[in-house]
Subunit: 408 residues, 2 copies
């Protein structure tokens, strides 16, 4: 069953015709991103969407699919993007039982356009909301004044890299002031760093799903409190490539788990809830188009395997623990590749899941630092790695400038 799905996705997304940049461009194949944004995905391309991990659907009472009500929202709100309706384990297309939803504490959002949808009925009744890991709060800071004009939130693991991106986008947008003097809004804490440059926020999120999850909860609350609208969220990261030349940039189609399924398992009060991890197709295609225009480095759209560690989960032979052979590793990577996986990182699944649930358009743009078929250790020189890490920044900067009407 996985293979059926994999082969379908392979044909649609990860074929070489979707590789752009350098000599790999085949621009005839690249559709107009504006048109794609409102385009319905062909039915039947995602045969895994109704399957459970073992191909047998939901496996017991501990498995739940929450936030299924998003499919009921107006098509206006989602620009007719059908993906929001295709939720894993959601075999039953019957109307959502609103009384049940409300009993879970959900509230319907009357927002027009792409407002930030916190899904927490308690939040607005709180006298004060302390965003603890940001050292910000609704009583101590005027969040609408500080953040109300944000349109792009760019996040990445490393604090140094996100500071560098803030300085880079400051230059690229030709904003007044000295780019070197960007200041860390979260300087009272060392959990994350945060820089605001015009309509762009640049933030670090640390490594791994739990670390980015804390940041996303507080970021989404911040955007809600600040009354932001039409925000695009972009993760700029590094990754291991799967059958790609080092330096290739991967724009994520779906974030997949260790079984190559596009889902994220969230524990809520001791119960496992499964959420979909499909990202916004329109933004992904827009980014691919940007790479075609830049012609500086190869870029592909593919699935991204999101793991919870760097060594055993990714099949590395160089960790403190390794209980498998080189051939076992290669077999797993081959299966991943057959399922459309083009890179491996550690944050995309919860990023995609939370973007979907909260009505945020999100994209994951990671450079592959090495080809995992060739090795495990990152041995490129410092200068080469620095240049690779700039590639997602260059691509996202071009995307932002185009959206703002600033691209040349």
């Amino acid at each position: 069953m996985h293979n059926t799905w994999s082969e379908n996705r392979e044909g649609i997304k990860a074929s070489s015709s979707h590789v752009t940049g350098g000599s790999l461009i085949n621009s005839d194949e690249i559709k107009n991103p504006g048109a794609l944004e409102a385009e319905e995905a062909p039915l039947g391309t995602d045969t895994a969407s109704a399957m459970g991990r073992d191909g047998s659907g939901s496996n017991g009472k501990e498995k739940n699919n929450d936030y299924g009500q998003v499919g009921k929202r107006s098509s206006n709100q989602y620009h007719g993007n059908s993906k929001f309706k295709r939720i894993i384990f959601d075999k039953n297309p019957a109307p959502v039982d609103m009384s049940k939803l409300l009993s879970f504490g959900y509230v319907e959002d009357d927002a027009i356009g792409l407002s930030i949808q916190v899904k927490n009925p308690y939040l607005d009744a709180m006298e004060e909301d302390i965003l603890y890991h940001f050292s910000l709060g609704t009583k101590t800071h005027n969040l609408p004044e500080m953040f109300g004009d944000l349109k792009f939130v760019c996040v990445g693991g490393s604090a140094n890299r996100m500071k560098a991106f803030a300085q880079f986008i400051h230059q690229e947008l030709e904003l007044p002031g000295n780019p070197e003097e960007v200041s860390d809004i979260c300087e009272a804490t060392d959990r994350y760093c945060m820089y605001k440059v015009g309509p762009v926020l640049s933030m670090s999120h640390g490594m791994g799903v739990p670390s980015i999850s804390i940041m996303l909860h507080e970021l989404i609350k911040l955007l809600h409190h600040a009354q932001c609208r039409d925000v695009v969220l972009l993760r700029l990261g590094t990754s291991g490539g799967v059958g790609l030349a080092p330096g290739t940039v991967v724009v994520t189609d779906k974030a997949v788990d260790y079984s190559f399924l596009p889902q994220f398992e969230q524990v809520v009060l001791g119960k496992v809830v499964t959420r979909s991890t499909e990202l916004d197709e329109g933004v992904a295609n827009e980014l691919l188009q940007c790479s075609a225009e830049l012609q500086q480095f190869p870029t592909v759209i593919g699935n991204t395997l999101c793991t919870h560690d760097f060594y055993e989960g990714q099949g590395r032979l160089d960790g403190a623990l390794c209980s498998f052979s080189h051939e076992d590793k290669l077999e797993y990577l081959r299966k991943a590749h057959a399922a459309g996986v083009r890179n491996i990182e550690m944050e995309s699944s919860v990023f995609a899941a939370m973007c979907r649930v909260c009505g945020l358009k999100g994209a994951v743009v990671c450079v592959a630092l090495l080809d995992r078929f060739e090795g495990d250790q990152i041995t490129s020189s410092h200068d080469v790695l620095v240049e690779y890490q700039q590639r997602p920044q260059v691509l996202v900067s071009h995307f932002i400038k185009k959206r703002l009407g600033r691209a040349v």
Copy 2:
């Protein structure tokens, strides 16, 4: 079945007679730590150890228990501690099939005493091992010279806090030089910070299991390459208390998962492997004894719930997503408390699991910043929080000084 286990543990570990510090000391109940280290735990106290998550044992071929061979090691190596033999899902006490183990690539370790046991047959054959996230390597750094004398590795989430601990332990050990001038050995990267102060290493690990997991793999390899012996690993952290006064320090007995079972699920090449998360009983009791001697703050031994996020997984009502009621939250916390859980954090499970597998004595010492029965937001003043965060440092410093024969 969980209740049986919980009540047993409750009686053994989390009763008020094991609370020390301030007016809560009952030193008659505190056993000699030296004697405890070699003591066999009473049989039958851990009825959950042969159960699966749903109480029905291993649930299918995707569940494996690796590193089961540790039970075969000499009792000399583990000081007769019986806990290493009690592995979850290990219902079959038959002799280990060595040919099968060796086929997985394990090698038997001839180490004498408590050497660091990397469980990776490929490691010593590598021409160079680059500890990428530390910016260190076996070719570029003389690791035995830099780290060979280490006896204590102290880790915590925050870089600033672990720098402060390095400066504090420098003063406490009355080492030559200016404590203010400790330098970050990992300054070439911003993933982690690392300070060496005499026999003590102070390192940050970021937030969440994946982040600390990367650090532990590279740390254990570092200790192996540096030929360190008899190292104790201590995590100093912050946490949410479960039925404890804010400021109480919790020394972890077992790290438990969302079902309150003492296990950690690690994905290895697409398969879920379950590892035990019991920590060293001798070190925990030694720490409790230290608190009794200090008489500065209350300390308890209890189970620690390790979650993969800060909001939904911990039952917080103040995240961007919340689909449960206040009563649902309280019910989950009550169940946790009944299972012996005294605090909640986000790193202890993989810390405990990796310490066990690699033959490292480990302890988790976290202060509770709030009582989760009373609320979700951390509202204490900055000064109060700073003082709370120093408590694990004060306790661990006393432990280190005693071990070095420096305590007054």
